[in-house]
Every structure is written in C-alpha cells, then in structure tokens.
C-alpha cells in the first residue's frame, strides 16, 4: 500500500468511526433529542368509566337521580364545595350513617390548583379495553380486537425505544388480570414489541393470597456460585435450540434488572407481612390497594413512567351508591399517591408530572337497575360516555389553569401519549412515528 492509499483509507476509517452512531443498550441509535420537563411521569388511568356529571361537573345527585343536591366528592383533585346533604360516599366511621363520613382531604392544595385541568376532553372509545388502548397507544385502531395485544406501539415502547429507558424504569401496575389488562404492556407492532415493553405486576394477584401461596417461597440462589452456572447452562441449551425456536417474548430486563425485580418481590412479601406497604388511609377496594403497591414500586425503582390502572367505579353498571363511594376513594387514592411521591420519595419529589384521565365516561341516561338507595345505575355506550377530563400537575405544567368547558371541548384522550412524550423528551419521535390519532397533539400545545 502506498502512502497516498494509506492516508485515504485511514481517513475513510476515521470518518466512519465518527459517523457510525453509538448504539444504546435499548437498540436506539441516538440519544433523545427533546428536553425533558421532568424525570418522572405517573399516569393514572382513572378509573373505570367516570361520568362528567358526578366528577368534574360536581353535580353529585343533581344530574343523575333527580335530587337537587350537588357538590364535589373529589376534593383532592378538584376545587369546589362538598355536598351538604345525602352524604353516602364516605366511610361508616363516626356518625353511624352508612357512608356518612367523608374521607378527609389529603392534599392541602388540589391538583387543579397545583396544575392544569382540561375540563371537557373527548374519549375515543366508550368501552374499557378500547379506552385503555387509546390512553396507552394514543390512537384508536378500528381493527383492535378484545383479548388482543395493542396493534400500535404503546407509550412504554415509545419511551424505551426512542428514549432509551431501561425496562426496570417503565412500569404498568394493573389492578387485576381481567379484561385483557396484562396484554397492554406492549404492542404487537413489528417495529416495537416486547423488547420495548413495560414491566407489569397485578399486585392483587402477585402479592395477594395466590402470590403468597405460589411465588413467595422462592429459593434464593447465590448470584455467583449458583445463578451464574445456571444461566451458563441455560444459555448453552438455548444456543443449541436457537435454530429451531426462541424463548417467549422478552421484555429485555437485563440479568441485573431481573435480580432487582426478584429482590423487590421478596421485599414486598416481607413488607406485606409486616403491614408496611404504603396504602392510602382507606383501603376498602382494589383501587386503593393498587395505589399502595404502585407507591411501593415507585419507592423501589423510581421509574421514569409508572402507569396505574383503577377501575372500581365500574360497579356503576348496577350500583350507583357504590360508584359514588368508589369515585370518592379513587380521588383519595390519587391524593395519597401524589402526597406519597412528594413526601416519601425524594428522588421523585418535585421532578414528577402526574396525569390522570378516565378511559371513558358513562351514559347520560340511566339503566333500569336500582341500588339500595333506589338510585339508578349507569352504563357506558352513548355520546356522554365519550366525555371525560384530564388533570395534570408537576414541573412545567401551568398552575391553577382550567381549559375548556361543556360547551367548548378541548383535547382528546389520545393527547396523553404525546404529552408524556414531551415531558420525557421524545415527543418528536412519537409524533414522527405516524401511529397517533391524526388530531392528537401534546396537551402543552393546547395550552
């Protein structure tokens, strides 16, 4: 090789070394280009079909049962006076009346005061699975079936693929395993999928009676002396089988992350036994329990995103009184969640944005079922079921701001995905991927 050729080749090699991008562990080529507004997002899928009338419109029994008693039963989230009569949504403690004692407010300032409320948002599905898919995919795919993984990428996959977040920083906390909930932690999309999925627990099972019986007695193997050779053998066996088939869908947790999750599970079984899980004060339903375990997950992992699902209000199909109680408790649980982050998790306090939206609303007109108070129940299938709200609070979110009203709807539930993308620095990548509902934009762009 002559000198000229050597210099030319060396130049090409050098240029190549600079040009070839550094490939992040997540598989993405470049670091996220967007600026993060906060380090963490807590996204509450609130809470199983919520009527605007009893939630943000604060009409209590006035717009459902024909009684002139209005008032706010969600006073951790919204500003407004509580009902003065016919109090049934509280606890049985105190005055002896069934549900007659409202749960004390947790937050000194409501989320409405601390942040921004979109008062009239359009949900793009009147059903639970469709609504949840919409909240997580940012789109409403007409071919999306029940009991089917999301067709388009979820917010988890966007964050992991484009933001480079490791699996253990992306969590979905489900309040059960019914209604296809465990399907929602990643999509079937060929460009995304399980390797960018979220870790998922349904704590009522994992850390409930079943989990205690079948999972809590796991043998603890020594990481070097036992686990290392075990994994070496597994990898050898997998290598032999590699040409035939592969393992099940992997979330891409590294071995260290898996050890960390197993340690978390052991710790949680111990803490359940010691009554040390940070549950809300009132834990009468599965939503409250789920929020407690979500707090535990955040305390341990400090995730970039924690999605928490609530659904107890769906008892409204047959029990309006129970619905009011569940709504009041869901508000209590969200208040507890926000308070816990700000006071008990220093790494997340002041660096977390909370977003809460129902996946769908409920009907304008009742069904024929009456509850113990002779109050009618409500399903979710009409236009009123597509009316919901979105609340957000935290760094970068304007405070004490209210946008839209009954006559002037602003925003869609699918907006939440690019909004989270903006908070965590991958909005452009999400918008550019081309899978969002066409009209969706970040809620910050609607302010």
């Amino acid at each position: 090789m002559n000198r000229r050729k050597f210099i030319r080749n060396a130049g090409i090699a050098g240029a190549g070394a600079f040009a070839v991008p550094y490939i992040l562990p997540s598989g993405r080529l470049f670091a996220a280009t967007g600026r993060q507004l906060a380090g963490h997002v807590v996204y509450v899928l609130f809470a199983g079909g919520v009527r605007q009338q009893e939630s943000i419109l604060q009409r209590y029994l006035d717009d459902s049962q024909g009684f002139p008693w209005a008032g706010n039963i969600m006073y951790n989230m919204f500003n407004g006076p509580s009902p003065e009569n016919k109090i049934v949504y509280g606890t049985n403690q105190g005055n002896g009346v069934e549900g007659g004692t409202p749960i004390p407010q947790i937050l000194s300032q409501t989320l409405e005061t601390q942040g921004t409320v979109f008062r009239e948002v359009q949900a793009q599905s009147a059903g639970h699975f469709g609504g949840l898919n919409n909240l997580l995919q940012g789109s409403q795919v007409t071919t999306q079936g029940l009991k089917q993984k999301p067709i388009n990428p979820t917010i988890f996959e966007y964050l992991r693929r484009h933001g480079g977040f490791p699996a253990s920083k992306v969590w979905f906390v489900g309040n059960g395993i019914g209604n296809g909930l465990p399907l929602l932690n990643y999509s079937n999309h060929p460009n995304y999928g399980s390797q960018y999925g979220a870790n998922f627990f349904a704590p009522s099972i994992t850390f409930g009676n079943l989990g205690f019986e079948h999972l809590s007695n796991a043998k603890v193997y020594h990481p070097e002396n036992e686990l290392d050779p075990m994994y070496q053998m597994k990898y050898f066996l997998d290598q032999s089988f590699a040409n035939v088939g592969k393992g099940g869908d992997s979330l891409g947790n590294t071995e260290d992350e898996k050890q960390d999750i197993k340690s978390f599970m052991r710790s949680t079984y111990d803490r359940v036994t010691q009554n040390a899980i940070p549950f809300p004060t009132i834990t009468e339903n599965n939503d409250a329990l789920n929020i407690g375990f979500a707090c535990e997950i955040m305390r341990w992992f400090k995730p970039a995103i924690t999605v928490v699902n609530l659904s107890s209000v769906d008892g409204c199909h047959a029990d309006f009184t129970g619905y009011l109680r569940a709504l009041h408790r869901a508000d209590h649980a969200v208040g507890h969640l926000w308070n816990y982050i700000q006071t008990q998790i220093p790494e997340m306090a002041g660096d977390t944005v909370l977003i809460a939206s129902p996946e769908c609303g409920r009907n304008l007109n009742h069904n024929p079922i009456k509850d113990v108070n002779d109050w009618y129940a409500y399903d979710h299938s009409d236009n009123n079921a597509s009316r919901v709200f979105t609340v957000m609070a935290g760094p970068g979110v304007p405070q004490n701001l209210s946008i839209g009203n009954e006559a002037n709807p602003v925003g869609f539930t699918s907006d939440n995905v690019p909004t989270i993308g903006e908070i965590l620095g991958v909005k452009d990548e999400i918008m550019g991927a081309g899978f969002l509902q066409p009209e969706s934009v970040s809620l910050f762009d609607r302010i």
Partner: protein
Amino acid sequence: MKNKIIAFFLGLLILSFAACKKDVAQDQYEVNPVKLYPSIGAKNKNKTQEQYVSILYTNLFQRALSGNQLVEIIDCLESIGDKELGREVLISNFMNDPQVVLPSDSVMRANPDVFTEQTYERFFVRKPSEAEKTWFRNFIEANPQLSAEMIYFAFALSNEYLYY
C-alpha cells in the same frame, strides 16, 4: 370310598365357588409410552402456559398437578409482565418445596453421561447429541459446586422446554 365321596363334594364346592366368582374386568390406567423426538428440530409447537406448568410440575414432583392449583399458578404467571422472570420465580418456589424429587448429586457425579442423558429425556424428551453430552460432562467436572438441582433449574428455564 367315603373319603372319595367327601373329596368329590369338596372339589365340587371349590369349583362352585370358582364358578360364582364374578369376572370383573379391571380398568387399568397406565401411562402411554412416550416416543423420544428423533431430533431437536422435530419440536415446532409452543407449549401453552398450562402445558408448561403442568409438565414442569410433573417433571419435578413425579405426580400430577391438581386443576385448582394449575389455575392459580397460571393466574400468578399472568400477573407478572416478564414471563421468563415469572417462570424463574415459579421454578425457584418449586425447588424450595421439600416434596420435589431430585436425583442426588453423588448419582450425578458418579456417571455424568447417564445423568445428562436421563435429564435430556426427562425435560426435552430426546437424547442429547454427543456434543451436548460432552459439554455437560465437562461442565459438571469443571464445577464442583454444581448440583443436580441447578441443572434441573437450567433445563426448566430453557427455551427448548417451552416447545414440544
């Protein structure tokens, strides 16, 4: 003569009992012999979670898992997003059960080739290739702390065990 008559009637009596014995066909339930896969490539179907759990339980405990327990365990696995991690936790729980049936380490070390062959047959329903046998022989001999339990764990967690 009298003795002959007594013997005749005694014989008749015995025969009559024999004749009265009801001939009941006994239903016998046995395990069908399982043919070994001719090669690793013959496996092309994924086990369902139910199949995986019940086969794993049978392999480790040498008895069948009850229907109720199967449903409960499947629910537990459903409640964990990382399925491989879920399986690992489940296997670790099984290994902590005093009723798990494992060969002793001394049996394993006495004849690693036979142990490897039996383990492949138990978990993978096929014979190991010579290369696989050699690898495990070397691995067992090179790792004095290795136990039969650890090898069973690796097989139960392997990708091939997810197929049939």
